[in-house]
Amino acid sequence: MSERIVVVGHGAVTCLGRGMDATWDGLIAGRSGIRRHASLPAESFLTDLAGMVTEFGPGTPTEDSAIAKLSARYLHLAMASAREAWADSGCEGREFDRNRVAVVVGSAFGGVDLLDAEQARMSRRKSLAASPYLVPGLIVNQAGGQIAQHLGLYGPSVAPANACASGGHAVALGAMFLRSGEADIALCGAGESSFTPPIVNGFATMKALLGRKPEDRSETDPGQASRPFSIDRAGFVLAEGSGAIVLATESAARRYDLHIQAELLGWAINSDGYHMAMPNGERIVQCLRTALERSSVRPGDVGYYNAHGTSTVVNDRVETQAIKEVFGDRARDLPLSSIKGALGHSLGAASAIEAAVCVRVLRDQILPPTINHCPDPELDLDYIPNTARSAPVDIVMSASFGFGGTNNALIFRRWNS
């Protein structure tokens, strides 16, 4: 029998707060972190609605001086949640083999804000000389590189760049390193901040983002812009953020006397092989079923499903249909929610944040709501509308799907349940 894989630390930085506690408190209170932002002016951006982490990052008093030369926000976000999760794990005070700690930290876009700023500087200067920090700050694997450098972790490192599934992929890949015997501990996560005109406007022109309409409820309350599974959902709201969890083999957790917070029962990753951006329900069903089978979990045993739930018309319909197919008669009894209603969609970071939130769900036995929810007759499941719910829950499932047709599902269990 394979050794069990456990969660020993978690962290998140989101538009609801610069840490896991603030994020969790905001989610449970049903707050939204979505605002209109003056930093996204109409002459450059097709929308100013966003989930941004305020008073954070390069150039602010909270700047992480260890990585100050690299001013890409995704790096600072990834580093912050990694530091939080690592501190939460208690590893730092222990004697452990640093060569056997994997670092798996992804991102969809990496340091594109740095690229944008550097292009503007070069244009302004009429110079072809680019900053020596541009390439190091732009590459997607630099988040893991900086985390490894500053936390002193020397095991295998990879950086999944799988669009909106990157964070979940990171958790699964970290677990694979543990299961293969290549590492004892894996720091997994993702960071994202991609507020540049080409990317924001690219999502907007794809009609993936919520557009501006005079009658839209976000016009009077920006906090209602992201409304997964609602009848008037009309696109996602772009956000930035990061999430991280620390995995360990059960034997390593016991050897180093780490506090076990949950068990990662199983996972699945697959490909749609279908379309550059549209989801494929059949493959999503396959992914969810594979995760359940590998975890030896029956659909009826899942007590909470953390949805990808982007608030786009297509995703929320396809995901609902997939849940119905996988969970069958039990689908209507399955509490599920999308925290993207509160946090927006932080692309690669989203599923890492959602993994961290699943750990909190199991710890606190509280299910976060899907805020801004107005029922859609076509989508008739229990989306935990608007208000958090206390419930005994032993097993949770989190799923995410990315452009390029890439899916993952993670299944966590309450420890000692």
Binding site: S65, A68, A129, P132
Partner: protein
């Protein structure tokens, strides 16, 4: 010799570009590599910052002669003088 205000301005640019902590003193005699621990990558960043800040171009051939803060300040003054001439 460069004016004290120009040296201070260059020192600030060096500190900003290489993210040198405020508790590390930068004087006109500070050697970029030996005293301020600026590595080769940071040195490129410092030179770029100096070019941007003072709106000058640093010739590649001059780079080996720029080992201290005062060297940089002198070069900036020369370039500004040349531009004004």
């Amino acid at each position: 010799m460069s004016s004290p205000s120009l040296v201070a301005e260059v020192a600030d640019a060096v500190r900003s570009a290489a993210k040198i902590p405020s508790n590390v003193a930068i004087t006109d005699n500070s050697r970029l590599i030996d005293d301020l621990n600026i590595d080769s990558l940071d040195l490129v960043g410092v030179l770029l910052q100096i070019q941007d800040h003072f709106d000058i171009v640093i010739d590649d051939d001059a780079v080996p002669t720029l080992s201290t803060v005062s060297d940089l300040a002198r070069y900036v003054a020369q370039q500004r003088g040349a531009a004004a001439a």
